[in-house]
């Protein structure tokens, strides 16, 4: 057997980029099932559309950039971006919203920076923020979970709505506020959180449905930790950062904010902690840096949620911290063996 490598080491471990991406997708399956359960099967349509468009865009861009197709189409990164964006989008997002987001993610956020490994910002979050700023109405139109349980939305009517913008089933309304949105608006109207929680959009500890989706995302995250696809530093730092600041404000002014638990299991918290902020390409890479990065995402998420203009802040928080990564990495270098103590 001729030696395949020019120089040592001649042994190689079994870890591969594609393997990591596949495990990440596997970890999302329970949460996707939960989304289908609470918001209907439309997410599956959005996801399929997103994956197809992402792979097409990736192939075209690779061709334009004279890069080999096979290794990069099979690395799984485009699929991961597509699936993450699909999960973050509202269930009944019109097809053009998904397509715009994916094209922007793959073309601008990924390939214009040099493709896999070179993008400073998380592509899915760049796309999400672009859509949120450009199409605020479509991006905040969430199906009310309560109504859905009475009038389940079947796949064909979801299909109709996504591609034609018409609703065939008997659902009265498709515009419902998300729990985070509701909390924010009601607090703005000087309502007390405990009272706000009486509304049908809320469940046991957080938003109805949302709390379970977040829990299943956390379960997927634990699987990733167990498989060593991600390390504990970023998720733990982010969750601690978020709980600490929300606990402090909640203790000082309970009438102004939801409980720490509410923040932990609402909106994009768990998706952000385990699947977005841990994106290796755009996150900090040193051990100390990961902790700073994660804590920063947690703090910013809360600040944007409570004092910012948008109901959820995970996407913005991740992008802002992405910007700081080179700085964080530079100042958190580990001490090398034998370094003279200062």
């Amino acid at each position: 057997m001729p030696l395949s490598r020019l120089s040592s080491p001649f042994l190689a471990g079994t870890n591969r980029v594609t393997l990591q991406m596949l495990q990440l997708l596997a970890a999302l399956i329970p949460a996707i099932i939960a989304i289908v359960y609470f918001f209907g099967p439309s997410v599956l349509i959005t996801m399929t559309l997103a994956v197809v468009v992402a792979l097409l865009a990736e192939a075209i861009l690779l061709r334009l950039r004279n890069r080999p197709l096979k290794p990069f189409l099979t690395d799984g990164s485009a699929v991961v971006t597509a699936v993450l964006l699909a999960i973050a989008l509202p269930p009944l997002a019109p097809w053009w919203l998904t397509v715009t987001g994916i094209l922007f993610a793959i073309i601008f956020a990924k390939h214009l920076y040099g493709g896999l490994g070179y993008n400073p910002f998380n592509p899915a979050m760049v796309a999400y923020v672009l859509l949120l700023i450009s199409f605020p109405l479509e991006m905040t139109t969430w199906l009310p979970v309560a109504n859905l349980s009475e009038h389940p939305l079947d796949i064909s009517s979801a299909f109709q709505f996504i591609f034609n913008g018409q609703l065939t089933s008997s659902i009265d309304t498709v515009s419902g506020a998300t729990p985070l949105d509701a909390m924010k608006t009601q607090i703005g109207l000087h309502q007390i959180p405990a009272y706000i929680f009486q509304q049908p959009v809320f469940g046991l500890w957080g938003g109805k449905g949302w709390e379970w989706i977040n829990l299943w995302l956390a379960v997927g995250g634990v699987f990733l930790l167990y498989r060593r696809v991600i390390s504990w530093h970023i998720p733990v730092a982010m969750l601690i950062g978020l709980s600490t600041i929300s606990l402090v404000t909640w203790l000082i002014a309970p009438e102004l904010t939801g409980s720490p638990l509410f923040h932990l299991i609402s909106g994009g918290t768990m998706l952000g902690a385990f699947f977005i902020a841990t994106d290796p390409v755009t996150a900090s890479t040193t051990v100390k840096g990961k902790i700073v990065f994660g804590a920063g995402v947690g703090l910013l998420t809360y600040i944007i949620r409570v004092w910012g203009g948008y109901p959820d802040g995970v996407a913005f928080a991740v992008l802002i911290m992405n910007m700081l990564v080179p700085l964080i990495d530079y100042y958190t270098q580990p001490k090398v063996y034998g370094a003279v103590k200062r």
Binding site: M1, S8, P9, A12, N15, S231, P280, T285
Partner: protein
């Protein structure tokens, strides 16, 4: 004795693959017809031949002497005739050639008169070191640093602990394991000599816990030497690269060797078990270093094992002796699969640092186009020196060598852990070796440029000095001329009839 062990960050748990070559005792490799002995089998200056073509030599006869301080002697591994002193291919990753002495053996294997030393304490430490140097002993763990230097504590240092390195953390290699199993007495003899030379009592024999036979062999031998009460076998967890000197020191003592420093700066000296045994042979039996144990193993080796091999034996003979499916000129690995290098020449000789030959690794790295770095940080997690390999990779790839140096490129021990764990299959160590070589070349260029610049400046200064001296002479001459002219004028005034021809002769 239980001792609290330290540890180092990162590292790998590797499949040892050692069983294959430890099933049979150490065997003797048959004498080869021709032995090729490179003059440089150690770190430092190459040895200088003291024989000529046509000379008859005996086994153990010195054929090359040490040159300069960092150098050792070289000996004939068997009796025979010197047939050539010329350039021959040597085992080197770049396939270089170097000056070698070739011996045609006569099959008699006749020893030169040996001078065993019964009681080494009758000699001074300095004499012991000289004997070890004359015996051509270098570190047999793979580096090949002259051992006598590491047996000299010098006047400024006090050695607290001697560490005997029997870790052998690289997969496949078992020569140290086998020498510990079979020659524990010799190793202890070596330790006694080393402790004497270093003025040290405390000695630690460090062995990984995957070598129970070696551990019990040494403990048994130690039990019979109550006077070595401060020598202990320390069993350490199996983890790559514990056998690396700095990492081993960290595990055994918890201390770190300062960057740019030597282990002796923190009171530690470490030697490999094979070296320790060789030192015992040289002092107690008067035998110079003429052979070593070589592990021959790998998926394609039929009779894997350890072979006592004379230096200069062509590697292909060793491989044929073990039976391999290897085709002529097919590459094989010299050293371990993590830090060794691949060779393909058939007539490369076994040298002092050749510890292992592997033909066919299981679960070897496949040829593949690396994906881009996804910054996952696995390399940093695996790095035993706490470097940031991915940053080093960016800077090495961009040839931003100053940045690479800033990220402590030269602290990299090239253990290969980062390349091993990389999910994008980037040959990181390859980039680091490249960057190191580039920087060293640059430094050499700088040094050359500095010399040239200094010479140029000296020349300018010299020219200027000459110019000044010239001007000074001219001035003096002019002054003298003016004086003489003044005198002449004076004279002329006194004697107006004198013709004025002397003027044109004097001015240039």
């Amino acid at each position: 004795m239980t001792q609290k062990l330290g540890s180092f960050p990162g590292g790998l748990k590797l499949n040892g693959q050692k069983k294959r070559s430890t099933q049979v005792a150490i065997r003797k490799m048959p004498l080869s017809k021709k032995l090729i002995l490179p003059l440089q089998q150690h770190i430092g200056e190459a040895s200088i031949p003291i024989v000529s073509v046509g000379d008859k030599v005996l086994k153990g006869q010195k054929i090359a002497k040490a040159e300069g301080h960092v150098s050792v002697a070289l000996h004939a591994p068997s009796s025979g005739t010197i047939i050539a002193i010329d350039e021959q291919p040597i085992p080197h990753p770049s396939g270089l050639s170097a000056l070698c002495i070739s011996i045609e053996t006569d099959g008699e294997d006749q020893w030169i008169k040996r001078q065993p030393i019964k009681d080494f304490t009758e000699h001074t430490e300095h004499e012991i070191r000289q004997l070890i140097r004359d015996a051509g002993i270098v570190g047999l763990g793979g580096a090949g640093f002259p051992s006598f230097i590491k047996l000299n504590p010098g006047v400024h240092h006090h050695v607290e602990t001697l560490i005997i390195n029997g870790v052998e953390c690289e997969p496949y290699i078992t020569c140290d394991d086998m020498i510990m199993r079979e020659r524990a007495e010799g190793i202890l003899d070596g330790i006694e000599i080393m402790c004497y030379a270093l003025h040290v009592k405390n000695c630690v024999i460090a062995i990984e816990d995957n070598k129970p036979e070696a551990i019990s062999a040494l403990e048994l031998a130690l039990g019979a030497r109550p006077h070595l009460k401060e020598t202990n076998v320390v069993v350490i967890p199996t983890r790559y690269p514990t056998g690396s000197e700095k990492q081993l020191i960290q595990v055994v003592t918890g201390k770190q060797v300062p960057t740019g420093g030597l282990p002796i700066d923190i009171g530690i000296v470490s030697h490999n078990v094979g070296t320790t045994y060789a030192i015992a042979r040289s002092i107690k039996h008067g035998e110079p270093l003429i052979s070593r144990i070589v592990t021959v193993t790998g998926r394609e080796v039929e009779h894997a094992g350890n072979f006592e091999t004379l230096f200069g034996t062509p590697m292909h003979e060793l491989l044929e002796f073990c039976g391999t499916k290897r085709q002529p000129e097919e590459p094989f690995i010299l050293g371990g699969p993590m830090m060794g290098y691949n060779l393909s020449g058939d007539h490369l000789p076994v040298t002092k640092t050749a510890n292992c030959i592997i033909v066919g690794v299981d679960d070897g790295a496949k040829a593949s186009t690396p994906l881009p770095c996804i910054r996952c940080g696995e390399c940093a997690t695996a790095c035993p020196v706490s470097l940031l390999p991915q940053q080093l990779y960016w800077h090495s790839r961009a040839k931003d060598l100053d940045k690479a140096k800033e990220y402590n490129l030269f602290d990299c021990i090239e253990c290969g852990c980062c390349s091993y764990v990389c999910p994008s299959e980037i040959p990181l160590v390859h980039y680091f070796r490249f960057a190191k070589t580039e920087i060293m070349n640059q430094q050499q260029e700088h040094a050359k440029a500095d010399i040239a610049r200094i010479r140029h400046e000296n020349r300018l200064a010299r020219l200027e000095l000459e110019q000044q001296e010239k001007e000074l002479r001219q001035q003096q001459r002019k002054a003298a001329l003016a004086a003489t002219q003044a005198a002449k004028v004076k004279q002329a005034a006194e004697l107006p009839t004198e013709p004025q021809t002397t003027d044109s002769q004097e001015t240039q």
